[in-house]
């Protein structure tokens, strides 16, 4: 303590030096990494953007650059209409096959989404408390995540052949696709349960609700975003799948199979790109839907909490930011 007498006289160079050095270094690294991140995004998105651009080529368009104009919607029309007229010429299209595949893809993806949502939810309910063998059970779910889709398609093909059954989109491909979605949905639900306060259920029971009513009126409304997330995982993974489906079905019954079918056709045309871009847009629309739902829900939730806090006069309760400011001040 005696040294404190010298303290005002001492130069505090050490503090300033450390501060300046730290600051300048961090900024440099940050901007370097930010530049790298932008390059990374270009690497990630460039192929799909190039594909989208080439899908707007004119009638003469091929599958590589240079872009063959004039730009138009001919190839986009060709994935919906059976014939596209270009002046006197008629372009024959694959629209019939694409429509069949699109419908197949849509229905099987919706079914897979529903199954994944239900099974991921029930599985996660079981894991809310520990039970004998939960370690092995967890590894089985991880196995579903880790098994290459190709091997699972192969195994299902062999299993059904051994049973003397024929494989098909609705009997086998649906099942193998849900196996890929279930672990994702399960992990989403586990994340929800980790943040879920079990006392809410207990409070409902204390107020006289039975188990079914607690579940229906308290638990479910609080976790349905997780279930919806599981549904979307099941939907998009099936919507985009090739490896799991290709070995099990005959013919182009889903859009990814149709896309590969178009590649194997004699002449590649930009309708391949229009179809690829269209399926990608559906996937992106699904993500955006989910994010919008999430944003609306969190805003709604926040206002409710505020209202309750105001009504009960709890406005100045636990506020992390305010607490931080107090500590800093």
């Amino acid at each position: 303590m005696s040294s404190s007498a010298y303290a005002p006289a001492m130069e505090r160079t050490q503090d300033t030096v450390v501060k300046r050095q730290y600051k300048s270094k961090r900024d440099w690294a940050k901007w370097g990494l930010a530049t790298y991140f932008v390059i990374f995004l270009v690497f990630l998105y460039a192929p799909m953007i190039l594909m989208a651009i080439l899908s707007f080529q004119g009638y003469q368009g091929g599958v590589t650059f240079p872009f063959s104009g004039p730009a138009g919607l001919d190839w986009w029309r060709s994935i919906f209409a059976s014939e596209v007229h270009h002046g006197q010429q008629v372009i024959f299209t694959n629209a019939d096959g694409i429509r069949t595949a699109g419908e197949g893809s849509l229905w099987v993806s919706l079914a897979a989404g529903a199954i994944v949502a239900v099974l991921a939810f029930t599985l996660s309910m079981a894991f809310r408390r520990s039970f004998r063998g939960d370690g092995i059970a967890f590894y089985i779910i991880l196995l579903a995540l880790m098994t290459p889709g190709f091997l699972l398609g192969l195994g299902t093909q062999i299993f059904w052949k051994a049973m003397g059954q024929e494989t098909s989109l609705w009997h086998t491909a649906l099942g193998t696709n849900t196996v890929w979605g279930i672990p994702f949905g399960f992990l989403v639900m586990m994340a929800i349960w980790n943040r879920y306060d079990d006392h809410i259920d207990e409070a409902a029971r204390d107020l006289g609700a039975n188990a079914a009513r607690t579940f229906g009126e308290v638990t479910l409304p609080l976790v349905w975003t997780g279930i919806f997330g599981a549904f979307l995982f099941g939907f998009t993974l099936t919507w985009n799948d090739f490896d799991r489906t290709a070995l099990l079905v005959v013919g182009n019954l889903t859009l990814p199979l149709e896309i590969v079918g178009l590649i194997q056709a004699a002449a590649l045309r930009p309708d391949l790109y229009a179809l690829g871009t269209a399926t990608t847009l559906v996937s992106i629309a699904v993500i955006v839907t989910f994010l919008v739902v999430l944003a609306i829900r969190s805003r709604f939730r926040r206002t409710t909490v505020h209202r309750v806090e105001e009504e009960l006069g709890l406005g100045g309760g636990i506020d992390a930011e305010a607490a931080e400011q107090v500590v800093e001040g």
Binding site: M48, L50, I140, P148, R205, N210, N240, I259, V260
Partner: protein, 332 residues
């Protein structure tokens, strides 16, 4: 519950059971509150857990475990040209694959090619993916920006790998693709003799694997980096550590599980690739997945199954080797 006609060696238990039944009627909702920790309540909750777990595991048993088991069974059955297979046990399928056990054997040649592609993909995804995760987790301060940029990074995962392969192979790769066109404009390449031969080649497949799977490395590393205790980093700096020593001693050990999980994902999934490889190379590059698929399409089920079993064994060995780098159970 217990019948009165047979002499019960432990009548007290019986009595206790009856008493407990009465108690259950009286205190049913107290029990529901979880206040009763008796054996019966425990048993009932076990039934509830079982009921929740049953549908999911029955489904996984039928569509995951049974297929995997049947790959193993089928690999020991005898091939038959007319019906595919007959259920006579044999090890011939394996000895066919193991003789010769060299790169002269098409199977091992394809396996080696797959392994090369996969190993390079894992290494490249780590080297190029880590800075991305580091940037998102450490350098983006505002939570909203962090979430937005992370979603932007992750979005391609939700799109079809087949579509992404199409977009990779035709507009970008090849002598008239965007990449070579760009290089020609720079003056370092030409259309007739391109600098990088990416027209349906292994190089094109290799680069595509990195592009398709890098998100599997970025995501787990990002989640672990986001959890690294910032105070530990500050403490390391205060104690005189420079950037590199802080990174090596504080940040890296806490992120190793993410690196390991990402590596396992990419290794396993790229080793099993076949659809994307076929699209990108137009059949010019054969990986072990393509090899097995050819066998199955040709209804050589037992041979294909044996090929798959050996692949799975190699995958397990690889995963085991990767997990040596981190004790996942303890570290997470």
């Amino acid at each position: 519950m217990s019948s009165s006609s047979t002499p019960d060696p432990t009548p007290h238990l019986d009595l206790a059971d009856i008493e407990e039944d009465e108690l259950e009627v009286e205190h049913e909702h107290e029990r529901a509150l979880g206040e009763q920790r008796g054996a019966q309540g425990e048993r009932r909750r076990n039934w509830v857990t079982l009921a929740w777990a049953a549908p999911g595991f029955l489904w996984l048993g039928f569509f995951l475990i049974a297929p995997l088991v049947f790959i193993v069974l089928m690999s020991f059955w005898t091939p038959n040209t007319s019906v595919g297979f007959v259920k006579d046990w044999t090890t011939q399928n394996y000895s066919d694959l193991l003789h010769p056990f060299s790169l002269d054997n098409a199977y091992w040649k394809d396996m080696w090619r797959s392994f090369q592609i996969s190993a390079i993909a894992v290494a490249a995804c780590l080297v190029f993916g880590f800075p991305i995760a580091y940037f998102l987790a450490m350098k983006v301060q505002k939570l909203q920006y962090q979430i937005a940029l992370f979603i932007l990074t992750l979005a391609p995962f939700w799109t079809s790998f087949i579509t992404r392969s199409v977009a990779w192979a035709y507009p970008l790769m090849g002598s008239h693709g965007a990449l070579n066109t760009f290089l020609v404009k720079l003056g370092v390449s030409s259309y007739d003799n391109p600098l990088l031969n990416t027209q349906f080649t292994q190089l094109s497949v290799q680069l595509a694997m990195i592009q398709l799977y890098i998100l599997f490395m970025v995501t787990p590393i990002f989640f672990l980096l986001a959890q690294v205790d910032r105070h530990a980093i500050e403490a390391a700096r205060d104690l005189g550590g420079n950037w590199w020593s802080t990174f090596r001693e504080v940040v890296l050990p806490q992120t190793m599980p993410g690196v390991v999980i990402g590596s396992i994902f990419i290794f396993v999934l790229t080793m099993g690739e076949y659809g994307t490889v076929q699209v990108i190379s137009q059949g010019a590059v054969t990986t072990v997945g393509v090899y097995i698929q050819t066998q199955i399409v040709g209804t050589q089920y037992p041979q294909g199954a044996a090929s798959a079993v050996l692949l799975v064994l190699i995958l397990i060995l690889g995963v085991f080797a990767i997990t040596r780098f981190s004790n996942l159970r303890e570290d997470i």
